[in-house]
């Protein structure tokens, strides 16, 4: 865990080189089973560890991985696509610069669904990332390599990106904690975009405490970067131990059974909500069916934005895209021009309609995913008797929070048939501190987040 490892390094029990070498050894030994790391920064990372001076930051000497859509100077950013197979970044993304300023050492670039656009991390060009709990299954996506590497213990923490669930889904499927921050809290400069108005970088780690640490390091306005908000956000780590006594948690009714949901997942989430209630939170059901409009709103905006971002490559490298991403990009290219405007108009209306919900409750809760991790190549899933395309099954659980731009964490809350289940906790805009405080309180009385997958065969 990051907090423990950082403390060991600060005490001098372990040197940055030893911490980095340990991560590199784990990747070398185990990642053949998971394919979670696309580029290993072996020599560079060791040299950077050796060059660290006296501890100056919270992450001094801690090895971290970043999703391979986030630039690290001098290292490939492939986005797991043939289109960018030889693309070497010339500068650090802002989030990478902030990690380095806090003393972290970037040891690898992590597998992703091609161009961070898909929820299975099964790139045609770079191969699928495999779930450490069952390597025949997907680890979710698009930040699947980040989820797998943390779950397998290759790295204590990683950064992913989230447009429509891409941090939360792999966190849930891999049994780790992941946070999609408020849009604008974390700078996107140096990150390959999917959708300007939905993208955000977020941390994945074993615990809420580690996510709070990472988030505090990468958060904050960046002068000249229009992707960040100038509104200051409350730090997450300082108030983490305040507990949930008196917090009002609204359980989104339609996501607890009206929309297709695996009964085992529902049971694990119900038990987690009962635990939060025993800890002093006031938990009650709330009707928020209007949020289902977010499912189409997000598609109307995200598809054309992605098509626009990819236009130069669509013109010259169309055949080099994987089939699924190419299909989505072309759909975005050929949607009516009214689609993103109608989508953004409906998005504002949705935010207005959601306002009373966030006044009434401190947090909203729901399952992060309605299903357990599907098998690799399984495009259709059975959700409590409903046959659904995998992609459609996940949208009702993820789009509302992306659409509203509010922070959401996926917190490990149980296992069904040996596979992890995630609880989604959603806060007000810039309310990450409350989200993580509740997750931390829950993790102090449960051990789901501490469980480790079996060693690879």
């Amino acid at each position: 865990m990051i907090a423990v490892l950082a403390a060991e390094i600060r005490r001098g029990d372990l040197s940055p080189r030893e911490a980095v070498q340990d991560a590199l050894d784990r990747i070398e030994r185990d990642d053949g089973a998971y394919n979670s790391v696309l580029s290993v920064r072996g020599e560079e990372a060791l040299a950077e560890a050796d060059a660290l001076g006296a501890p100056v930051g919270m992450l001094h000497g801690v090895p971290i991985g970043v999703k391979d859509v986030i630039d690290v100077a001098g290292t490939r950013t492939t986005a797991a696509s043939k289109v960018l197979a030889d693309n070497v970044a010339t500068a650090d993304a802002t989030v990478v610069a902030r990690l380095r300023a806090a003393g972290a050492v970037i040891v690898g670039k992590l597998n992703t669904h091609e161009f961070a656009w898909g929820a299975s991390t099964t790139s045609e060009a770079f191969g699928p990332a495999r779930n450490p709990w069952d390597t025949e299954r997907i680890c979710g996506g698009s930040s699947g390599g980040s989820g797998a590497a943390v779950a397998a213990g290759l790295l204590p923490g990683a950064l992913g990106t989230d447009t429509a669930g891409s941090v939360r889904i792999p966190a849930a499927f891999c049994g780790v904690t992941g946070v999609r921050p408020t849009i604008g809290r974390v700078p996107n400069r140096g990150v390959i975009p999917v959708s300007w108005t939905y993208d955000t970088v977020g941390p994945l780690a074993r615990t809420a405490e580690d996510c709070a640490l990472l988030l505090d390091v990468i958060s904050g306005p960046e002068p000249g970067d229009a992707s960040t908000t100038s509104v200051a956000a409350e730090p997450c780590l300082a108030g983490l131990g305040q507990g949930v006594e008196g917090l009002r948690i609204g359980v989104v009714s339609h996501l607890m059974g009206e929309v297709p949901l695996d009964p085992g997942v529902a049971g694990a989430v119900e038990e987690a909500l009962a635990e939060l209630g025993r800890l002093g939170a006031r938990v009650e059901r709330v009707d928020a069916t209007f949020l289902r409009r977010a499912e189409v709103v997000q598609q109307l905006v995200m598809l054309p934005e992605a098509a626009e971002a990819h236009l130069p490559w669509l013109r010259t490298r169309l055949a080099d895209y994987g089939a699924d991403v190419r299909a989505r990009l072309l759909a975005g290219l050929l949607l009516p021009s009214s689609a993103p405007i109608t989508g953004q108009r409906a998005r504002r209306a949705l935010a207005e309609e959601a306002r009373p919900l966030f006044e009434r409750f401190d947090l909203l809760a729901a399952p992060e995913m309605p299903i357990l991790a599907p098998r690799i190549g399984e495009d259709t899933v059975d959700v409590n008797g409903h046959e659904l395309p995998y992609r459609l099954a996940l949208i009702p659980y993820n789009s509302p929070w992306s659409c509203l731009g509010v922070p959401t964490a996926s917190v490990p809350c149980g296992f069904v048939d040996g596979l992890p289940v995630g609880l989604a906790l959603t806060g007000r805009r810039l309310g990450e501190a409350t989200v993580l405080r509740a997750a931390h309180a829950y993790q102090r009385v449960t051990d789901w987040h501490e469980r480790c997958p079996p060693a690879p065969a």
Partner: protein, 68 residues
């Protein structure tokens, strides 16, 4: 015209629109787009009808700072 009776464009029309933007998809690509449009166009029309036209679109980069 009801939302579920929106006529879909022909492949040639879609190809012309793609060419306008400098992109040359295959027929297979365009058939996939048609399948997507068959689902999304009625949803778009329904959303247009549900959403007041006096509501300005959300920001094109960040959502409203005061939202939620």
């Amino acid at each position: 015209m009801s939302a579920d009776s929106i006529p879909l464009p022909a492949l040639a029309e879609l190809r012309a629109l793609a060419r306008l933007q400098g992109v040359e998809p295959t027929d297979t690509d365009l058939e996939g787009v048609l399948g997507f449009l068959a689902t999304v166009l009625p949803a778009l029309r329904a959303l247009e009808e549900q959403t007041g036209r006096d509501i300005p679109p959300a920001g094109l980069y960040l959502p409203d700072p005061e939202a939620t």
